[in-house]
Symmetry: C2
């Protein structure tokens, strides 16, 4: 069993209104040292090891469903899942 952590972020060139809203809120709370906020998604997947290569499967899933590659970038980490 593998644990895969996927980080999805907006590309540099894409405006992030949600991030700007959070920055505005932080400034109104007197956290003026914050100069930029960007928001992304974080996904944790548990993947059973089978016949298919985990890296290939994760890359396919990211490109087909999890991210919009026109405006988003993604990176991922594969870890051995610790059973509980």
């Amino acid at each position: 069993m593998k644990k895969v952590k996927v980080y999805v972020t907006l590309r540099e060139s894409v405006l992030d209104p949600q991030g700007s809203a959070i920055m505005g809120a932080l400034h109104s709370m007197d956290y003026n040292e914050v100069t930029d906020v960007r928001i992304g998604k974080y996904l944790e997947l548990q993947i059973e090891e089978g016949t298919r290569d985990v890296d290939t499967v994760v890359r396919e899933m990211c490109q087909k469903l999890l991210t919009n590659t026109v405006i988003e970038d993604y990176r991922y980490e594969v870890e051995e899942a610790v059973s509980k």
Copy 2:
């Protein structure tokens, strides 16, 4: 200037309907090896170093605005920002 990466995840005990929906979609696309999906948020903050300690400021911001500590956990990493 510091770059702070904040990861916000739902607590273990809290249901994640958005994650379940994504898992359903992945299964319908024949990625049946995926056994669990949890969704979280990922934030990147740029923080100007001032009189206040960055760790303290980040912890305060997380507890007051960025996370709902009743249902969410957070962790963060502080890095030296690379100027472009």
